[in-house]
């Protein structure tokens, strides 16, 4: 997702950690409100509240979960809140540090799709660090394969947009997956 090109100013970068890193004393919606409250120009409270709410609903969190505290949420729901918190600031650059690593495969795919949908609505540049080749193939324009801290191979992702179920099950996906995998593990696998 390198489109549009990165032109981030301070405060336009959002980050999603490996862990949801939610504040345990704040409800889901209050956690999403946090970055807006920390801004010096925090606009009127009603507006920010509805923004936080919409962001959570876009992450498919149920309306009756908005006031729950992190300990009452499942791991997947916490990560949805964490993503909503990153996106609520409408960042131009989103940095994702293995955000789905702790989730099961179905959730991983679902959250990836949600992220793509948000990106389609309002594009932002994303750098996603992942160990999951399928995830990299599904979410990217470009894949950089790194080994011991160095970029060893660079791929332009040939898969068509939008990236949906059809793309994921297509032969092209398999071919691209194989190419990335080979560069990572060597061709004998």
């Amino acid at each position: 997702m390198i489109n549009p090109p990165a032109q981030a100013k301070l405060g336009e970068v959002a980050f999603v950690f490996q862990q949801p890193t939610l504040l345990p004393w704040r409800s889901a919606i209050d956690n999403v409100l946090l970055p807006l409250q920390l801004r010096p120009d925090s606009s009127c409270a009603d507006d920010t509240k509805s923004r936080a709410k919409n962001e959570l609903l876009a992450m498919e969190l149920r309306e009756d979960s908005l006031l729950l505290y992190p300990r009452q949420l499942s791991g997947g729901m916490r990560m949805r809140v964490s993503l909503a918190r990153a996106l609520v600031t409408r960042p131009s650059v989103l940095l994702l540090d293995e955000p789905f690593a702790a989730l099961d495969d179905m959730l991983r795919v679902t959250l990836g799709e949600l992220l793509l949908r948000r990106w389609a609505e309002r594009p932002f540049t994303t750098v996603l660090v992942t160990h999951n080749i399928g995830e990299a193939a599904m979410l990217s324009h470009q894949v950089l394969v790194m080994q011991t801290g160095k970029v060893i191979k660079r791929f332009d992702n040939p898969l068509p947009w939008p990236r949906d179920e059809i793309v994921r099950t297509s032969p092209e996906f398999g071919v691209f997956y194989r190419a990335v995998s080979d560069s990572l593990y060597g061709e004998k696998h």
Partner: protein, 273 residues
Amino acid sequence: MSMQDMNQRSVIHGDSLRGRLFELVPAIGLTLIAIVLWQLIVTWFQLPPILLPSPLQVFHAGIAEASVLMRAAWITGTAAVCGFALSVVVGTAVAALMSQSRLLRLALYPYVILLQTVPIVAIAPLLIIWSGYEFRTVVLITLVISLFPIINSVTEGLMAIPQDRIELFRLYGASKFQTLWRLRIPTAIRFLMMGCKTSCGLAVIGAIVAEFFVGNGGANYAGLGTLMTGWQTLGRTAPLIAALFASTLLGIAMFAFVHILSSTLLSRWMNQD
């Protein structure tokens, strides 16, 4: 901990009211045994009441002096609560200051330790010279004695913030004050409550010790501590022991209050790092 785990827990430990009452039985049983033993010792050795009155004599003394004891407990309780409340305010403020700058931390911490190591009984006469045989002196001594656990635990709480949360705040360009108000203080509340549990017990001790000294000045002040020193000089051991029980109850009441307050405040934090 998931709901399932919690249900499991309640089955094992019996969180129901009946289960909890049942858990009190051994402790109450021990008390009853101790009272019976006490009575037997007094009877067998024919101890004079001035040395050790029987439980029944103490009970009667407690009834006879009930109104005096209640008034005294009220005064001591008020002093303890005031001193404790002040120690929470002052302790939190000092801890907040120390968390904000390394320089301040280096400058203040040795004195915080000093506060802990100086025997408070040694300061009490001095404070009386400065402040007089007054209620406010009792509050002051209580403050000094219950301050350390608050400063210590709150400072620890303000400093021990998970690194990823600090990074989160830095990433969103939070100011130092915002980080203090929205991150450090909410995290420290848990630690404050732990400090309060230690401190509230110390506050009652502090108030009573202070009253020992204030009572010696023959001031117009009648807390439990002054009653105790008075009854000691008169050789009235039975009401003296009754006063001892009254001060224990006072300590338990304070602890229970802090405990309930903290579990109410901290219900959101439960089962979360």
